[in-house]
């Protein structure tokens, strides 16, 4: 389980997170929703140890990671897979090399095993035969799928998705969501996803957390969030403009 307690973070005079609390149950898909610029990616970066909070704690299976640095933090990260917003594929490497990279550098697997796992990972995301292409030679949706393959090829226990469907058409959004759902059912990892995709994420999430003004405004299973009486949540999931609130 991932526990976030009283997480506070400011950049200069701008306070982004204001004592945020959240619990992510093991093996679940937790989706964090909220307005653009509301601090969702900042929260995610705290969970993966790329940012350190001004106050508060992040605990992964009881281990506080907020104070960890270097090797101690790397030990926790060995259990992670991360899908970045833009994919973050290494553009000097072919797609297959991108997927092979963590297997070679992190797990130090023998070459035949790497080849086997890379082929299987590309097959899982529906990109068999595309391994020889460079990231710049494939579409945005394919890049996201290669990024998912790279994040999952080491079979991590916890996978973070930072807006994995941003900029994709509705068909590709559903394709990626179903891919994540299929892979989750197969590997049973704990997933934390930041997303804007309303209402699509309600189909795949076990828990939805609404981030508003640096705190979690509401958290619960998708039906509870959809039926929420909280005006902030209602406005967001209905996509109502600012001045429509309270009508």
């Amino acid at each position: 389980m991932i526990k976030v307690q009283g997480l506070t973070k400011s950049f200069g005079r701008q306070q982004v997170l204001r004592g945020l609390d959240l619990e992510v149950p093991t093996g679940s898909i937790t989706v964090i929703i909220g307005r653009s610029g509301g601090g969702k990616s900042v929260l995610l970066k705290h969970l993966i140890g790329l940012l350190h909070p001004d106050a508060g704690r992040v605990l992964v299976d009881g281990v506080e990671i907020t104070g960890l640095r270097g090797r101690a933090l790397d030990e926790i990260r060995q259990r992670y897979g991360v899908v970045f917003q833009g994919g973050a594929l290494f553009d000097s490497m072919r797609c297959a090399e991108n997927v092979a990279f963590p297997l070679r550098e992190k797990l130090h697997l023998p070459r035949p095993e790497i080849v086997r796992r890379v082929e299987a990972a590309l097959h899982q995301v529906g990109l068999e035969g595309m391994g020889a292409k460079y990231p710049a030679e494939i579409s945005g949706g394919m890049r996201k799928r290669v990024a998912i393959a790279r994040a999952l090829v080491t079979e991590p226990e916890i996978v973070f998705f930072d807006e994995p469907t941003t900029g994709l058409d509705p068909i590709l959004v559903n394709t990626i969501h179903h891919l994540i759902l299929d892979l989750h059912q197969k590997f049973r990892f704990t997933a934390v996803m930041v997303s804007h995709e309303i209402p699509e994420i309600f189909e795949i999430a076990d828990t939805v957390a609404m981030l508003h003004e640096g705190r979690i405004a509401e958290v619960g299973p998708p039906p509870a969030i959809q039926a929420s009486s909280n005006p902030v949540v209602r406005q967001f999931i209905r996509g109502e403009p600012e001045n429509a609130e309270g009508r």
Binding site: I48, R77, Y80, V82, F84, G86, A88, D91, P102, K106
Partner: protein, 264 residues
Amino acid sequence: MTDRPLPLALRALDALGQRATYVVDSLGRFGTFLGQALATILTPPFKFWAFIDRIHYIGYRSLLIIVLTGGFTGMVLGLQVYLTLVRFGSEAYLGPAVALSLIRELGPVLAALMVTGRAGSALTAEIGIMRITEQIDALTVMALNPLRYLVAPSILAGLVTFPLMTAIFDVVGIFGGYLVGVELLGLSQGTYFGEMQTFVDMQDIMTGFWKSLSFGVVVTWVCTYKGFNVGHGAEGVAKATTDAVVLSSVLILVWDYFMGSVLP
């Protein structure tokens, strides 16, 4: 508690203090970056193929510009020094004058400036783009040290390639001086090279070598640091690239003076 505005008299002092803190903080981070990179170089695993790739990137791909600038620098030196020496009837010393200027000063400095312009700027832009596209974050969250993959091989490659580039610059420059002095202006070949052997000793060559070695560290350190600490978007990469070239060039000239006054 709300912040009360400072009295006017204290605002300038406050701004000065903030600026000073920023400069000290930046210098600290700059130094720590090199320290971490050197620690990474000294601890396994060593990324051999990344190192070879950086030698190709910094060294081999700078060869043409080094040969061109070295050749023309030697030719200009040959012409100008000959025209000066001939007034004193000392044109026999053209060879040593060209060789000493190149080996002690111009070779290391100009080769370093050329490599900075060609490879240093590209290094900053490449790492900067990796930063803004989260490729460096991707390495970090894979529990892999980005310094080991991006910085350590570049600094090591700088240590290897800068002395080699300088040596090539010197040799081509001396040949450029020969073309002008001997082939064009009629100085005898024996005089050009004979006097050179008399006046240039190992100490001069080592002075140039130590300079080029230190420039190799300075340029790769500055350029990788600027790439790592890039601002936002394309504008951030453009600014980091410009800053890297300007800072590297200034440091090369400052460090050259320092080395010149310390080394024999």
